[in-house]
């Protein structure tokens, strides 16, 4: 009897074993954020496509938040400031409480990452339009080289028509860039948080996100 209880406690301490959908969306979004934040240039076709892919992955994660297994559902990690405060005092006091999904602080980080990503995606889409630039569409001209734009006079005219919306575009770009930088900072904090919790519990919390298997303490 006592053996079963300690066994259960050990399982809980090790944290959830993440399912394949959570793992694929997690690493897909992580890759997209790093690629678009650090490697590709804004306006580049690759940047736009990766942004759309990140949007799709986020959408799938949201669907999974309602349809997925228990630990992946939003109901398993509701955003709660008071719970997060409690978790901080747990950390400071060296208490180790177990959580069936994200811990309360991790849950807040998850929602913060998702909402900032949503802002980045929304402003990106507002600036660039769809992933398939239509001929004669102004947004596509923005990243076609100047020489090509000169050849197609009609498109150049479109570009001029858009000049009035320049201010709005600039504001969008500001928000897009600020949110993207915030996203990278939050991602760094997220990694630091995972490292801290892994050390506190003496378990590898990254492993279950890679292969879905729990690690022994």
């Amino acid at each position: 009897m006592a053996g079963a209880q300690t066994d259960e406690a050990a399982e809980a301490v090790r944290g959830p074993a993440w399912d394949p959908v959570v793992r694929l969306t997690h690493w897909g979004i992580a890759a997209a954020v790093l690629l678009n934040g650090l490697l590709t240039e804004g306006g580049e076709a690759a940047h736009v496509w990766i942004g759309w892919a990140a949007f799709a992955l986020l959408a799938l994660r949201v669907v999974w938040g309602f349809a997925g297994p228990e630990e992946a559902r939003f109901s398993a990690f509701p955003p709660s400031l008071s719970a997060a405060r409690g978790h901080v005092s747990d950390v400071l006091a060296g208490r180790r409480r177990t959580h069936r999904s994200h811990d309360p602080l991790g849950a807040l980080m998850t929602y913060a990452l998702w909402s900032v990503l949503a802002v980045v995606v929304a402003t990106g889409i507002a600036m660039e339009g769809g992933p398939f630039p239509e001929p004669g569409e102004a947004a596509s001209v923005a990243f076609v080289s100047a020489a090509t734009a000169d050849e197609v006079g009609e498109e150049a005219d479109d570009d001029h028509d858009e000049a009035g919306e320049g201010e709005e575009d600039e504001a969008l770009e500001e928000v897009h860039e600020a949110a993207a930088n915030l996203l990278l900072i939050l991602a760094a904090l997220h990694v630091a948080g995972v490292a801290l919790e892994s050390r506190r519990f003496g378990v590898n919390l990254v492993g279950p996100m890679i292969d879905g298997r729990r690690r022994g303490p």
């Binding site: 969306t25 992955l57 669907v63 297994p69 769809g130 239509e134």
Partner: protein, 184 residues
Amino acid sequence: MSRRAVRAAGRAGASGRPFALAALLVVQTLCAVFFAADVAADLSWNGLTLHAGFEAVVALALAVGVALGAVEMRRTLERSRRADAAAQAASGAFAALMEERFEAWGLTPAEAEVALFALKGLDVAEIAAVRGAAAGTVRAQLAKVYAKAGVSGRGQLVSSFIEALLDGPLPGARRAAGRPEAAG
């Protein structure tokens, strides 16, 4: 040790299919989003045309496919988790049966431990080494176990458990089998 190995093997075998399903779900979602974006762009530039209308239906079908795929995926995951739990319950049921019998036979704690090692396939020398006892002591304890169990030796002792397992549902197994039904 061996119980954990069995569990790990079961999990590895079951994890392949859910992963492939999940990858398919990701590709489906990518398609749905790209199609939906294309439809939105077409509608905003050219209004409702036959082409855009047809694409809208395709996008909608894809989106519904994603939702249904997600539900099917959850079911697959739950099924493989239930199988995992059943394997665990079966090994738990065996432990319960063993405990029950040892008690019915009136084994002392030391005899019960020796009997457990004998069931696990350790020979007298190994049991003696594990328990830090003399081989003679272990041999005497084993003889007492066989006498109390009414069997002639280790072979019959093991057989008596196999027989119980094959005979019908174990008391623990019945309890375990009732659990998923109650949950689902």
